[in-house]
């Protein structure tokens, strides 16, 4: 028995989302049939809006409704420090800490020859241009602690440092509130390496 055409089309669409396979897609599609019409309409509108109303900030590369984005436009923020991250999601996490008052730069990826991503394929040229045009004193590299994130950080530091700008990297080690007893060897090793005087 085949699915009716509208159902199978909807299922195909659901299956384009990450983590959704055929069974989940079929469950969601059949659930949609019994949803209230207003809810379905607003769902569809939200989907379109996310695509139509959002753009990338021409300065920092973050997702925004207005270009330049609110953070880049905010005159109260400290323009001398920039945190470099891989993805827009990480800007949101860092903003939650409510402590950093500088600016951001979103790379949209990391250097990875396997995936065919070279320095010109991610937002590195725009970062270099920013550093030339603006009065930046420190760049904080907040790429992930993976092999690729580390390579990207090393690459950026090599490009930026000769310009006399301070380059720093986020600390690795124990997470806040954790027990040393339960930490794995590698985390402990990093924590000991990165210890500081008190």
């Amino acid at each position: 028995m085949h699915y009716p055409e509208p159902i199978s089309q909807l299922m195909d669409s659901f299956m384009k989302l990450p983590g959704i396979g055929e069974k989940t897609a079929s469950r969601l599609a059949f659930y949609t049939i019994n949803m209230r019409e207003e809810d379905v309409t607003s769902f569809a509108k939200a989907l379109i809006s996310v695509k139509r109303d959002l753009q990338y900030c021409s300065i920092c590369g973050n997702i925004t409704e207005n270009d330049p984005c609110d953070i880049c436009e905010d005159k109260r923020r400290d323009r001398s420090t920039i945190i470099v991250v891989e993805h827009p999601k990480e800007v949101i996490s860092l903003e939650k800490m409510n402590d950093f008052k500088g600016l951001y730069h979103v790379l949209h990826g990391v250097l990875s020859p396997i995936e065919g991503t070279g320095p010109e394929d991610i937002n590195i040229p725009t970062l270099i241009k920013r550093l030339q045009d603006e009065e930046v004193k420190e760049v904080i590299l907040a790429t992930n602690a993976t092999a690729e994130g580390e390579a990207t950080a090393m690459y950026l530091s090599r490009l930026i440092k000769p310009a006399g700008i301070k380059v720093t990297r986020l600390a690795h080690g124990l997470s806040v509130g954790s027990d040393i007893e339960y930490a794995d060897e590698m985390t402990l090793l990093k924590a000991v390496e990165g210890r500081r005087e008190i």
Binding site: L111, P113, I114, G118, P119, A147, A151, M154, R158, M186
Partner: protein
Amino acid sequence: MFLEAIELKNYRNYEKVEVSFSNGINIFLGENAQGKTNLMESLYVLAMSRSHRTTNDKELIRWQADFAKISGRVQKKNSSFPLEIVLSKKGKKARFNHLEQKKLSDYIGHLNVILFAPEDLSLVKGSPSVRRKFLDMEMGQMSGIYLHHLVQYQKILKQRNHYLKQIKQGRKVDEVFLDILTEQLSLEGAEVLKERYRFTKRLETWARPIHSEISSHKEELTIHYQSSVSVQSETDKDQLFTDLINNFKKIKKREREQGTTLAGPHRDDMLFYVNEKNVQTYGSQGQQRTTALSIKLAEIDLMKEMTGEYPLLLLDDVLSELDDERQTHLLKAIQNKVQTFLTTTSLSGIKHKLIDVPKIFRITDGQVEMESE
């Protein structure tokens, strides 16, 4: 540690069988195709939760049965506890002390075994990749830090190989990026090298006296870790890092032409020498066997050093591969020390060499009977 007893249900050709073992030597005696190796395999599965012969657990379940069960009782220092593995078509369950262990890594380690089967000769005779895999497997079990560096190394290697391949195909070279990949690779490579060298030396320390004993003091075994850079006990990580970097500078042109990483731990080897001659190339069959055996027996001592307990030794069809003298020395080396299980088709030539009285089990078509003597 000792395995006191085992019970099999629907395991391979065993419908239901219960066996209690001696803390010394246990001999599984029987004709071919009666189930000797199956019984041996069940001990391995009980310890490691998987078979060394197949990756398909369903093969372990008796023909037309729904599940297979292996339960055993392990005695460690002053305590004893049950272990149980249940295999069904849906998957497997591992229980330690009647409690199900969701993570198999929590289960493995309660019973340690070292298996020596004829295939293990490839450790000496086979390609370098067999020996690198041996090093990585053994060291990975012992040290989480080694495993971490190894995994990082392999990831960066993959990236670097891809980049070199793209360069070979005519992509514009970003020298800074290639330098960084080389540095990262050398950084992790130095860690891997250092640890592998240390492990090789420890293995040699244990294997030398064993090899000497088995060969009636006629042969001297040395193990050499072969790498693109020279490693000595006193070489520190920073030195190794610098050496690796300098070596990459030397082979820069060739790497770009061939589009792949040409040096590093992934190309290293472990070489065995007997009386200063390379066993793989110049050794006799017997010398190769002795070497493989010494390495395996050295693992027993290494395991004891690591965990504080001797593992079980499983010798599957190995005796027939060794000459009379080597057999005698092997049996001497393990007696009164390690609980041993061995399979054989005939007792002649073995029994008189044993000081201990072995417990003999006669295996006929899925039935196990203790020989009364």
